[in-house]
């Protein structure tokens, strides 16, 4: 993990680098306050907040607001999402595909299953497409080649098939089950 996510010099730079061509009204302040559902306050650079399409459109509609309430988002996944977006801003300023790939890979590798899964609805809700792609792929990689039972318990899914229905489905797509050891 990068240790420089909170570097004050860098955040100043990124603020200047953030162009806001579609904002017609007066520029909002440089810091934006996000409030999680468990009432934690996050002060983030405007450029980072604008990575969240949902927050961006909120500001376009109500530019005078100073605190954005995020009723569906709790503090922990939000802080991780913010950490990711801060890094992406750096890559926007200095494109380096190899470094970005490396960072993205490290970002997901060090997270627990639960952390990853908890971030997905947040990234979906805030519409951060790059992060969503990274997270979805990371979770998919973790369940790839795992048994159906494993995936059920991973996501807490209840099996509502009858034994006959399940057998019929397996027969219909027999090609996909060849050579698979069940559980």
């Amino acid at each position: 993990m990068s240790s420089s996510t909170d570097s004050p010099t860098l955040t100043t730079e990124t603020t200047q680098l953030s162009p806001q061509p579609d904002t017609e009204t007066a520029k909002p302040t440089k810091k934006i306050t996000l409030k999680s559902s468990d009432n934690q306050i996050f002060e983030v650079e405007e450029s980072v907040a604008m990575e969240f399409a949902t927050v961006k459109s909120f500001f376009e509609d109500s530019p005078s607001t100073d605190t954005v309430p995020l009723p569906n988002v709790t503090a922990k996944p939000l802080s991780q999402v913010i950490e990711f977006c801060k890094e992406q801003i750096k890559f926007k300023a200095n494109p380096d595909e190899a470094q970005k790939k490396k960072y993205n890979a490290e970002f997901v590798t060090e997270k627990s299953d639960k952390d990853l899964v908890d971030m997905i609805p947040v990234a979906n809700y805030l519409e951060i497409k790059d992060l969503l792609d990274v997270l979805n792929q990371a979770v998919a990689d973790r369940i790839e080649n795992k048994s159906v039972e494993y995936v059920r318990s991973f996501f807490g899914i209840d099996n509502d098939f009858t034994a006959e229905e399940e057998a019929a489905l397996r027969r219909e797509h027999a090609w996909a089950y060849e050579g698979v050891d069940e559980d």
């Binding site: 979805n136 899914i157 797509h173 090609w175």
Partner: protein, 317 residues
């Protein structure tokens, strides 16, 4: 860009609208959008649409397997973004069986996005079908196309490599192209009508710029297809340009005519190369009369510089 009719809506309503709109773009299949997001202290109740989205990142075979999770997910595989029908899948399967599975997956595919299409197949007499699959994957924004064609029975019984048509080199989403026994069918410029343009414009327009492709893996047949050809009695160079190619991996397999001149004629169209890999296999360069007459001098005259080149690796397995 505050639109008046949106004033007065709550943040949540706006977000929900945006989510709906999003379903029609990249996460097209989220048509059962709910805003009941997971409570963060429990990660075991993700909504079905979010789960469908995660499952779409599984390779197709896995995506079909998880159809038995529960009735809600039995069709999740229709949204798979990773259509891998590679040699693992081909092994021990009859061509008929192979064909019908791949065709069914493409016919039932509902997702708006396909990231990868891997195919390990003998395209003999199924060219139209293969073209249909490739076209569908390109329509859905495929980024990685891995076409490993082979020939059943005796290898190289005078059959031509598979000709990839213009859809492939005009696909803007394509970043990684891996081709085995394939050629790009670049028509010579006389075949392309371009009325009303001045001569200069026409010439420039006829350079095939394969800009999006960053990684290219091919067998030597591919280079043979792109090397200068006699057209109308003159030796003409094919007009193409890999403006963004970073990695080139050449596999000398079944190389009949390919020689160092063909390789260098190709490389000069790829100025941004960083890495070159050449698998020589059992290739043995024969200095035949064609080389002596046509290629040797031209080869020695080349002086190319690759400013970004970091390494070249030639290996013999």
């Amino acid at each position: 860009m505050a639109s008046p009719e949106r004033k007065g809506q709550t943040f949540l309503q706006i977000s929900r609208k945006r989510l709906k709109r999003q379903c029609h773009s990249s996460y097209h299949h989220l048509d059962r959008v709910t805003t009941s997001f997971t409570q963060a202290d429990r990660s075991d109740d993700l909504p079905d649409d979010v789960l469908d989205m995660i499952f779409s990142f599984l390779p197709i075979r896995n995506a079909v397997q998880i159809g038995v999770l529960s009735t809600r997910f039995k069709n999740s595989w229709n949204f798979s973004r990773r259509l891998d029908f590679d040699d693992d899948f081909a092994r021990g399967r009859s061509p008929e069986d192979f064909k019908s599975v791949v065709n069914k997956v493409f016919d039932r595919h509902e997702g708006s996005s396909i990231l990868r299409f891997r195919l390990c197949f003998d395209p003999d007499r199924e060219e139209l079908l293969v073209e249909k699959w490739i076209r569908k994957s390109i329509e859905k924004g495929v980024e990685e196309l891995d076409l490993e064609f082979y020939q059943n029975g005796n290898v190289f019984q005078g059959r031509w490599p598979f000709k990839l048509n213009s859809e492939v080199y005009e696909a803007e989403s394509l970043k990684i192209l891996k081709l085995n026994m394939c050629q790009l069918d670049l028509p010579p410029k006389v075949e392309r009508p371009s009325k009303g343009f001045t001569e200069t414009f026409r010439v420039r327009n006829l350079v095939y710029d394969l800009y999006p492709i960053q990684v290219l893996t091919t067998t030597s047949t591919f280079l043979e297809g792109l090397s200068p050809k006699f057209i109308g009695g003159k030796l003409r160079e094919m007009q193409f340009f890999f403006g963004n190619l970073k990695e080139f991996h050449l596999i000398m397999e079944g190389a009949i005519y390919c020689n160092p001149y063909d390789i260098i004629s190709f490389l000069k169209h790829c100025p941004g190369l960083e890495k070159i890999f050449i698998d020589l296999n059992d290739f043995c360069f024969v200095r035949g009369p064609y080389w002596e007459l046509h290629n040797r001098q031209s080869f020695q005259k080349y002086s190319l510089s690759f400013d970004s080149l970091k390494f070249i690796k030639a290996s013999r397995i």
